[in-house]
Symmetry: C2
Subunit: 218 residues, 2 copies
């Protein structure tokens, strides 16, 4: 799976909508078709392409319903400049083998020397290209660490879906206590849904009621 194949896949609006949906929760075909108002036949075709590329996979539940979910971390970068059209994709074979499971990161960023002679232009370019690679690596690392925190949050909650929303609610409360209504606006989800999320997090001792609102559990 190279960057070109990935760009071909992501160049389709409905495939992007499917991925956005699956990032919220695992879904089965009929669900996707109804949420997105796309025919089941077209959904199946998009899912097949995404599955063949290894971006999603499926799991069959006890009612024999086939749920699709995003299977791994993946990053694509495209650089366009008057001198370059470059694409780079990081596509680890498995989550365990990935650089992003490293625990620590250190990065050395310095502005390089400038000059118009060949020695200094070559040195500057080389330094910038080294930096570009290190920054890409660092971004994959950050992506992996975010997935890791959300995995832990999912474990804490025994949740199977939508941990991103739980995480967004947590982030809102990190600024201090807030009421459901204002959290709802901040995370762009209906108050009813936020209420459920808060109740479930309270059950798992992650948040607590404070007056009319909610706060992180001390």
């Amino acid at each position: 799976m190279d960057s070109a194949a990935l760009l071909d896949l992501l160049g389709n609006e409905n495939r992007r909508r499917i991925l956005r949906l699956l990032a919220h929760k695992p879904c089965y075909v009929t669900e996707i078709s109804e949420y997105l108002d796309v025919s089941p036949k077209a959904v199946i075709d998009h899912l097949r392409k995404l599955e063949e590329a290894g971006i999603i996979e499926s799991r069959t539940d006890s009612q024999r319903r086939k749920y699709f979910h995003i299977s791994r971390n993946l990053r694509l970068e495209v650089n366009v400049s008057p001198y370059e059209f470059g694409t780079k994709s990081a596509y680890p074979r498995s989550r365990k083998l990935d650089v992003t499971t490293w625990r620590y990161l250190s990065l050395d960023v310095r502005a390089s020397e400038e000059g118009d002679d060949s020695q200094s232009m070559a040195a500057e370019l080389r330094e910038l290209e080294r930096l570009e690679n290190e920054l890409s690596m660092a971004q994959r690392w950050v992506q992996g660490r975010i997935t890791d925190v959300l995995d832990r949050l999912t474990d804490e909650l025994d949740a199977t879906e939508n941990s991103r929303l739980y995480a967004d609610v947590l982030l809102e409360l990190a600024d201090g206590p807030a009421e459901t209504e204002s959290i709802s606006k901040a995370v762009d989800a209906p108050p009813g849904m936020v209420q459920e999320v808060l109740a479930e997090m309270a059950e798992h001792d992650l948040v607590e009621r404070v007056g009319d609102g909610w706060a992180l559990d001390e």
Copy 2:
């Protein structure tokens, strides 16, 4: 111009080939059509879409021939994970207004604390998201600096095209003197073309002959 429109544009193999070609040198329609073996009609259609998006622009030379070139720095990042489908594009209105023209960069990267309570998960997520933004900014900065070095190299050479190849040759020689044949392999360009590039750089005192090979000019 948002990330979705950009992905739609880049989701076409022939448009990617046109951008790759224009990153080497400005071209006119017939040239592009012949290089890529795509009909002039299709080329014109792709160019129009790229021009409307502001990625390329054209200049008419003294023979009234219309040359197309890539007009600006642009970066697209796509993040896919079990919890996210996110796209981000940096698309400065003009090269002068861009963050990437800043002269210095400093970046603070630290591994954040880990814990399974809500306080530490929220703190960790927030730190990682801050880091993600800073790294994106840093990569745009690096991209801008690379374009800047290549602009300077183009000025030094009075060249109008292909400075990327000149830069690659410079980078090869930064490791020490080398012969045309081995440079040709390293930069993936025919020996004849590399020979011309070296001769032109020698004329501008950027490289010099050393024995059977070439070296950066001291």
